[in-house]
């Protein structure tokens, strides 16, 4: 009977009570099923991805298509609504449903690539900091703590006002400003592993530095990193919407949930649907990612690694 621990790559996670890969997958599936919220989160996330990927197929109209004669049509369930524009139109007669569908592309792109860049940067910085130790570590940690001590939103807004107005810049801004969180998480894990002694013993048997990193450190990082990535992605969807609400993200012609909200603000009294449904979309995406992140965190909980007895 083989113990997962004897393979030398056990991360000590709860899921390791199962000893085969198939068993672990089964365990994860049972966990997902038992905790239906995780399932919901995963479904909402997939919904977001599919909507973004297949926008042209799903959207009934061209999001940029203006029909001034049809402007400010209410959604279909209203007396004056029509199935042609299920969620109504805005002040320029553009179909809301299509704009919401296309808006998911902006949100997902910013969220996904922003998190990828932040995680990548943060991972490298955290690894260097945690592994090298000494003065380098002290300096890097100091800078990271500085960045984390600042009122994040404020600085993002100011920086975006200087550089903003393009999708790429927004992604870069988020990618860079969100890296400190990943750096701190990574460094924490690296230190924890070093303290557990694996690194010393590996060095003592002559293992090369890269091997140590790949065999011992990275597997343990996957859990916490994925969890943080999920939550940060949810946060980025928020922040991007906030930035485009202020007009600092994508140009106004590109449909994004935030600028739809901002646009609708002027017509709140006469056409409240212009703001309502994009906001709902933001909420649903964020909800899904938070649920998913919660579930992932329970499954990959580093605290369950504490060996009792």
């Amino acid at each position: 009977m083989e113990h997962a621990a004897s393979k030398g790559q056990s991360s000590g996670l709860a899921v390791d009570i199962e000893r085969t890969w198939l068993g672990r997958l089964g365990y994860l599936w049972r966990l997902l099923w038992r905790d239906k919220s995780g399932l919901l989160g995963l479904s909402l996330f997939l919904l977001l991805v599919i909507t973004a990927a297949f926008s042209p197929l799903l959207a009934p109209h061209d999001p940029l298509d203006q029909n001034l004669s049809d402007s400010k049509t209410p959604p279909v369930w209203d007396v004056e609504g029509t199935w042609k524009y299920p969620l109504g139109t805005d002040n320029l007669g553009r179909d809301q449903l299509s704009r919401i569908i296309y808006g998911s592309r902006v949100s997902l792109t910013v969220g996904f690539f922003g998190v990828l860049i932040a995680a990548g940067l943060g991972l490298v910085i955290g690894l260097i900091s945690g592994y090298t130790g000494g003065r380098t570590d002290a300096v890097i940690t100091g800078i990271v703590n500085l960045l984390l001590a600042l009122p994040y939103l404020l600085f993002v807004v100011v920086i975006a006002s200087i550089f903003g107005r393009s999708l790429l810049n927004v992604i870069l801004i988020f990618g860079i400003t969100d890296a400190p969180i990943f750096a701190r998480t990574t460094r924490g894990e690296v230190l924890r592993i070093r303290e557990a002694g694996y690194v010393e013993s590996a060095i003592s048997i002559g293992a090369r530095r890269w091997r140590i990193i790949f065999d011992h450190i990275l597997p343990n990082l996957i859990g916490p990193l994925i969890t943080v990535m999920t939550f940060e992605m949810s946060a980025m969807i928020f922040y991007e919407a906030g930035l485009s609400f202020l007009g600092l993200s994508v140009p106004p012609s590109v449909p994004s949930w935030g600028n739809m909200l901002s646009n609708g603000r002027k017509y709140l009294t006469v056409a409240p649907w212009i703001s309502t449904y994009p906001g709902l979309a933001i909420m649903i995406s964020s909800l899904g990612m938070n649920l998913l992140g919660d579930w992932l965190r329970d499954v990959l909980d580093p605290r369950l690694r504490r060996v009792k007895k």
Partner: protein
């Protein structure tokens, strides 16, 4: 304990210096601060004149030292839009923002902490589910959207509450609620998980093994231990709220620092923006420092050392 205080103080000062540096470079990274601060239609000559006046032609180290040496005394120059000292404009707006953030935080604490406590003590119960739902919603609802929805419901449709301005106490209700909701969300979750974690600790098992009344175990052992991490959390959340007041103040036309910075961005008034950015950071850093000190005082492991 004194050493801890001193080292944190030094740390905070260093952080503030770092912020000043950041703020200094922020307006220069795009290349030419003068064209950043002048309106788009400005002529080349006016931009050149502006550059002269602001001293952007001087070597960078000189500008930096000049900036820092003035900033430490609170002199950020004059607002480009108002032509009066930037810092005093910021200070004028401070009370409104603090009032808003404070009210939001108070509301959040009053709702979230009891819910989190009950939820952590009786996981799976109805109250726990309510708390977890609140936690989830609080963190998933974009508060600028909620602001619009609530304005529509309460101010437009029901005409119960004002939707802008800071004229009466009633005006505080909607914005404070919207500000406080995300904090409510994270506080519920954190309280709940603190209680859950502590319940699983060895010393709680010891307390039960002594045959103590479960109420005593709950109040004296679980709650008091849970309160400690909550102190830092509350302090940090207040800091976030201050930073995130931009949207709420803009939507509700609340005359605080957040609204000012949003307007300043529209006017490209970067001296004012620098002042606001620094000042907000100052408040946040001070709050963090206070919170850490409170934490160190309350926890005997830190207060007394070994």
């Amino acid at each position: 304990m004194q050493r801890y205080f001193l080292s944190r103080l030094v740390q905070s000062v260093l952080i503030l210096l770092g912020v000043l540096t950041l703020v200094f470079f922020m307006v220069r990274v795009s290349g030419d601060p003068a064209s950043l601060m002048m309106p788009k239609e400005a002529s080349q000559e006016s931009i050149e004149a502006f550059r002269e006046k602001m001293g952007f032609n001087r070597p960078l180290p000189v500008q930096y030292l000049d900036f820092i040496s003035h900033a430490i005394w609170g002199d950020f120059g004059n607002s480009l839009h108002f032509k009066t000292p930037a810092l005093s404009l910021v200070l004028q707006r401070l009370p409104a923002t603090v009032q808003l953030a404070g009210a939001g935080l108070l509301l959040a604490i009053l709702v979230a902490i009891p819910l989190g406590l009950i939820g952590g003590s009786t996981p799976g119960s109805l109250w726990d589910s309510a708390g977890r739902l609140l936690g989830l919603l609080g963190q998933s609802i974009p508060n600028f959207w909620l602001a619009l929805v609530l304005i529509f419901l309460f101010a437009v449709r029901l005409r119960l509450l004002p939707s802008f301005g800071r004229d009466e106490l009633k005006s505080l209700i909607l914005p404070a609620f919207v500000m406080g909701l995300p904090v409510m969300g994270s506080l519920v979750r954190l309280t709940r998980s603190a209680v859950l974690e502590i319940r699983g600790e060895d010393y709680i098992r010891t307390a039960h093994s002594k045959g103590l009344d479960p109420r005593r175990v709950y109040y004296r052992h679980i709650l008091l231990n849970a309160a400690i991490p909550l102190i830092s959390v509350i302090g940090v959340q207040f800091g976030y709220m201050l930073g995130g007041s931009i949207y709420i103040e803009t939507i509700f036309s609340w005359p605080g620092m957040g609204q000012l910075i949003e307007q300043a961005i529209g006017w490209r008034d970067y001296t004012l923006i620098q002042a606001i950015a620094f000042f907000t950071s100052l408040v946040v850093v001070s709050l963090n420092l206070l919170t850490d000190l409170a934490y160190a005082w309350v926890d005997p492991r830190i207060r007394l050392g070994s």
